[in-house]
Amino acid sequence: MRAPSLAAIVVVLIAGGLFVLVAIGAGSGGAPKPVTSAVPPAPSVSANGFALTSTAIDLPDDAATYPAGPHVDVVNQRCLSCHSASMALTQPRLTAAQWQATVEKMRDTYKAPIGPGEVPLIVEYLTAQQAAQSGAQQAAPQETKPQPAG
């Protein structure tokens, strides 16, 4: 095997130096460094012309809590276990009886960690919150409503 020529060594050194500079530049840029180049390709299986590649995802977190209101601490404690606050906050105006049935369903069927005596507190919050929302909407400038069909 022939010893590498001086020129070849210089080329390798220059290329290596450039790589280091590029790496430093990328590292100081503030942008997230693409990790895919450093990681071996994800495992895949294939047959008959179709491949499936292993996949991992990172789901967004949801830091939103319930807006202030009576017993909001109980609501945040119990109603964020399984779902985002938006689930309750996007519901249409429901009666106290409808909220009662919903909260009991969450407890009995979906096993929400709602303790004895907490159902009325949560129902009170949800009905008060919707009343406050409704009041705020009436105080705000009227939106253009869709015309009745006809």
Partner: protein
């Protein structure tokens, strides 16, 4: 009583992320429980939602709920493409502990229950089995629930809890035949990887009658519009039940269980039940009526070229485009009315790839003078079922299929 508070729920999610080796980079959504980027025009509100592009493998979607994810497809996507792009396809999960990492080498589909030979099928094996491909609409049972009047609780969808894709996979019948269904079997139950965050809650499972499961079209799909599925849409394998509502289309499917009796699991016996009346319609407020598990879809159509409530420049001819579906059979015709339903004119229909997919329709509506015009589309399927003018009502908010008028102002 099992106690689980918010922090514990997040810790469970975090442990899953750690197990997947991807913790630490969790994108934090801004604290916005209610956004205002899009108005779904839900009667009585709240009607406004944020748009989000924060979900992996998904583009701009209407944010209904972050956790567990409920993402709605904006209507303009249906105007842009007859097939819904994978990254715009709606997302719906029941339980908070949903899978975030899939290893294609170790993934197995277990087939058991009332069979001769229980199986554990790898994805490599699945890819070597006989394939079919067909176009089919995947529509949530509660699509358009937010438009019910009186309103009903539940996910408050507009019309975008649906999508149309070409699905490729292995007929469920093939897998059942490999396992050898034993005499006396009645149904096939499927389950996926998502699990409740709370102890004691019912795992999400659904079942189909054995004959339905063996119809040769119900399939274990590994491809959606020619690509592997986004994880949020069920990668690596999702059950496709052409013509039936999405609740049966099990995502991240990993168990198939042949039953020799009725499925008394909560998700079949109690949830997703509809009145047995035509159009699943009962008087508002009704409670005690016979019910049956929701099943096949029925015809629907949407005008997508103009937006309800919008204003456009006046032109005596208003071009109309939209999408229609027949339900569990094909689209026979779509008719258009700009006279409040007094007169109807047939729309031109685009190509039909499969009877279960969307069908494009086009029409031209004469508008004699500037002002307000109400345009309606009405689909009739090949079974002769036509969309009704009146909306149905049931407490679950299921099976809406009435004519959906679009009112625009010209000039």
């Amino acid at each position: 009583m099992d106690r689980l508070d918010f922090n514990e729920a997040r810790a469970v999610t975090r442990r899953r992320l750690l197990a997947a080796g991807i913790a630490g980079g969790g994108a934090m959504l801004a604290a916005r429980a209610l956004g205002a980027d899009v108005d779904l025009r839900l009667p009585g509100g709240p009607s406004k939602r944020a748009m989000t592009s924060d979900f992996p493998q998904k583009g701009a979607m209407i944010l209904q709920r972050t956790r567990p994810a409920l993402l709605e497809t904006p209507m303009e996507v249906f105007q842009q493409s007859l097939y819904t792009p994978n990254d715009r396809f709606f997302v719906r999960w029941h339980w908070g502990d949903l899978p975030t990492s899939i290893d294609v080498e170790t993934y197995r589909i277990r087939v058991g229950g009332h069979v001769e030979r229980p199986l554990s099928i790898s994805l490599a094996q699945l890819l070597r089995m006989p394939r079919i491909e067909l176009a089919a609409v995947n529509q949530c049972s509660g699509n358009s629930r937010g438009l019910f009047e009186p309103r009903v609780p539940g996910a408050q969808w507009g019309h975008g809890a649906m999508g149309n894709a070409k699905w490729m996979g292995v007929p469920l019948r093939h897998v059942l035949d490999l396992a050898g269904v034993r005499g006396g079997a009645t149904a096939v139950r499927v389950g996926g990887m998502d699990k409740p965050l709370v102890a004691g809650a019912a795992d999400f499972e659904k079942s189909l009658a054995l004959d339905h499961a063996r119809d040769g079209e119900v399939m274990l799909a590994f491809a959606m519009n020619g690509e592997q599925l986004p994880l949020l849409n069920g990668f690596p394998v999702r059950l496709i039940v052409p013509g039936w509502f999405s609740t049966y289309w099990m995502k991240t499917l990993d168990t198939i269980e042949v039953l020799a009796g009725p499925d008394d699991n909560y998700w079949m016996a109690k949830a997703y039940k509809i009145p047995t009346t035509p159009h699943a319609n009962v008087a508002p407020g009704s409670k005690d009526f016979p019910t049956t598990p929701i099943n096949r879809m029925i015809p629907r159509s949407w005008i997508t070229s103009v937006a309800d409530g919008a204003t456009y420049g006046y032109d005596p001819v208003l071009p109309i485009e939209g999408i229609a579906m027949g339900g569990d059979v094909g689209v026979a015709r779509v008719d258009i009315s700009a006279t409040g339903g007094r007169t109807w004119e047939p729309a031109a229909l685009g190509r039909e790839d499969d009877r279960y997919g969307f069908r494009r329709f086009t029409a031209r509506v004469n508008v004699p003078r500037p002002g307000r015009v109400k345009v309606m589309a009405r689909c009739t399927n090949t079974r002769g079922e036509t969309q009704p003018m009146e909306a149905n009502w049931n407490p679950g908010g299921y099976m809406r299929n009435c004519v959906e008028p679009v009112i625009v102002r010209l000039g």
